[in-house]
Amino acid sequence: MKHFKTALMSGVAVAAFATAAMADGHGCKVTDGRVSIIGNEFPAIQTVGAGAQACAGDNVTVESNLTADHQKINLAGMQGNPAEYTTAIIANSSIVALMNNDVIRPLDDLIAKHGGDLQKTQIITINGKAMAVAFMANAQHLVYRADLLKEAGLEVPTSYEDMLSAAKMLREKGLSENPVGGAYKAGWNLAQEFNNMFLGYGGQHFKDGSAEPMVNSEAGVKALEMMKSLSEYMNPDFLTHDSNVTNGEFRAGNVALMNMWGSRAATMTDADGVPQEVIDGFAIAGPMTVGGGSVPATTLWWDGWTVAKNISDADAEATFLAMMNGINPDRILSDDETAKQAVWLLEGYEPTPSAEGVFAAAQSGAIPYPMLPYMGLMHTALGAELTDFMQGKESAEQALGDVEAAYRAAAKENGFLQ
């Protein structure tokens, strides 16, 4: 009967649980309650989680489950009553799933009571209600090897066209076999790179105010063609490379130019065994434009936390206070190590050199990742249907037609399209 159970199988995420043992309530105003955090795993979020865990005490339990698979479990973990997770750390893309299913609560009363230290820009309001507290900004931008560019006599690229010609030069001069890096792994990453390029060409995913798809357009075709040209200069395995692997390629010195997340830029050369020339040559620049456009081909992101709806008001207050301690500016900004982990949206934050790329993205008018209820379905359809084009098995128009067809089927199923 073993075979039947798999038919009912869903993704099971391996999660590492950590319970705070320290009862050091330093600066923490929580006296009792239950706090349980679910969130992504990268250095800045670990810092926030550790700050919240410092609130654990005799009557306060703080659990934190930080995992790359957080999106697969946060919704299920907040739908019960009482919810397993009292707070989810999310980004502007993933708050949508929680909003769609009505599992997070408005924070206006808690902000009025305890949120005096927050900056106005940190408060995410949706339809006039505060639904999340943002603590960091993020964007993808160029990181490169200054030493290799200098050796080839090249300027730092400001557009993807420059990147292509630089890549050609680097290969011809024998400085790098596959000079371009990119998180082009089939699925979420590939779709995100398409979104960047598509917005850079002035594309729009949906018809105004509706869930009708519009990706099979001139901008869509141009975006795919640019991605294809770039992929000629990438490691041939690019469809299996996510941001972790792409980072590894850069650290190993195999890549000279790539579009990478700001949240990973600061720690790029911190790993063991990174060759000295990579450490010395590593440099950060702003995001690139494409096709002569003025808006850079990237998206702006924020990371923040929410509070679950299906928990007692007391637990919600405890959670709010613990998370406020997690993003305590004094603690995060006084330590150089944590201060450089992200572009913190906290009071008193001074940009470190590694934040330059994200700041350039925000200043050059990059578009925030769309917070639309049906964007997740579009992202999934893009991730699954663009691979055939990238492998040269079909034309850009065909691939984008498949994306629209796949999206339409999913959007009808979920009640967004008739």
Binding site: M1, H3, F4, K5, T6, A7, L8, M9, S10, G11, Q71, K72, L75, S94, A97, M99, N100, D102, T121, I124, T125, I126, N127, A134, A137, A186, G187, A211, P236, D237, F238, L239, T240, L300, W302, L345, A362, P368, M371, P373, Y374, M375, G376, L377, H379, T380, A384, D388, M390, Q391, D402, A405, A406, R408, A409, A410, E413, N414, G415, F416
Partner: protein, 341 residues
């Protein structure tokens, strides 16, 4: 056995099967014929660190009212089964009408997620299963003729692929076939093509997945056949030897017929196991080249918007697929049952 005795004997098993097998299947079936309610959308002004923007959100009050009125959602009948993400009836019909050769028709079919997944799943199932049975049998015969001292050690090593967690096993192989990995490097040296990459080519990726499938499942066949070999009647073997049968003839005419029921057993279990291939696809990051029904279910559930009805429908289709694979043995069992009465 009296009916009464049989009833009490079977009751605990029956209850467990009802709770753990029948109810979940009923629940999946229900989910696959209902859709979420139509979303009531409202325009909202959303503000954050990057300024304010007019966007769309779901009107929770209105949607909750719809949910309360019909908690199961919209009844869709077989709508989801027919849509592009599943059996894609209208797309298949369209492809049939507009293509003029079978090759073009199948290439159109390969563009639809369900048929793309089936193409790989069936190839994987029907290539892996016979090969892993042959390999398992060869290992079993080999081990059986070993010296008693060596046996334990060799059995342990032969079982290792089955002991390793599938996800970990496939990850290890994935790294080995990387163009900078041990195997990948060796293969590109053999092919005399430094730019050869197993991960970038669909046929090579399929072959890697199939080799992994054989490697990881052969120990199961080996264990079963090895146990079976201990029951081969020595008298028959000895008389065959006296009649002058060679080792190969003894295996062909004595051992294999004796083990035939076990071959059927292993074939069935492996057909079903291979039909729901999943871990190697994730471990090999192979979704650009190969997908399976289980992988589609995983993908539907792991996006930012979970597609429960779509996943449930694929689950039902998987159950139907397993039932089709099982049908030969079901028919035979039914015949035996009829014959017995």
């Amino acid at each position: 056995m009296k009916h009464r005795t049989f009833f009490w004997f079977f009751l605990p098993t029956g209850l467990a099967m009802l709770v753990f097998i029948a109810f979940p299947i009923v629940s999946v079936l229900m989910q696959s014929v209902f859709l979420p309610h139509e979303a009531v959308l409202i325009e909202t002004e959303n503000c954050g660190p990057f300024g304010c923007k007019v966007e769309t959100a779901i009107d929770q009050e209105a949607t909750n009212k719809l949910r309360e009125a019909a908690p199961l959602g919209r009844f869709a009948g077989l709508e989801i089964y027919k849509d592009r993400g599943h059996l894609a009836f209208s797309e298949v019909g369209e492809a049939w009408r507009t293509t003029d050769s079978l090759g073009a028709f199948f290439s159109e079919l390969g563009d639809l997620p369900f048929y793309r997944a089936m193409a790989f799943t069936l190839t994987y199932t029907f290539v892996c299963t016979p090969l892993l049975i042959a390999l398992g049998f060869a290992v079993a015969v080999g081990v059986n003729s070993l010296n008693q001292r060596l046996k334990g050690l060799v059995i342990f090593f032969s079982l290792l692929p089955m002991i390793v967690t599938p996800l970990v096993g496939s990850l290890i192989l994935f790294w080995m076939i990387d163009s900078r990995g041990v195997l990948g490097n060796f293969i590109s040296y053999l092919a005399n093509d430094p730019s050869l990459s197993l991960k970038a080519s669909t046929p090579l990726m399929w072959i890697s997945l199939i080799i992994y499938g054989i490697w990881s499942s052969a120990p199961f066949a080996f264990v079963v056949f090895y146990a079976g070999l201990q029951t081969v009647p020595q008298d028959t073997l000895e008389s065959a030897q006296i009649d002058g049968a060679t080792r190969w003839q003894r295996i062909r005419y004595v051992v294999i017929p004796h083990l035939m029921p076990l071959v059927t057993f292993v074939a069935l279990i492996q057909l079903m196991d291979n039909f729901r291939v999943f871990e190697p696809i994730v471990g090999f990051n192979a979704e650009a080249h190969a997908t399976s029904l289980s992988w589609i279910i995983f993908n539907d559930l792991s996006g930012e918007t979970q597609q429960l009805s779509a996943a449930a429908t694929t689950s039902v289709l998987t159950i139907l697929g397993v039932a089709v694979l099982l049908s030969p043995v079901l028919v035979r069992t039914w015949r035996d049952f009829k014959g017995g009465h």
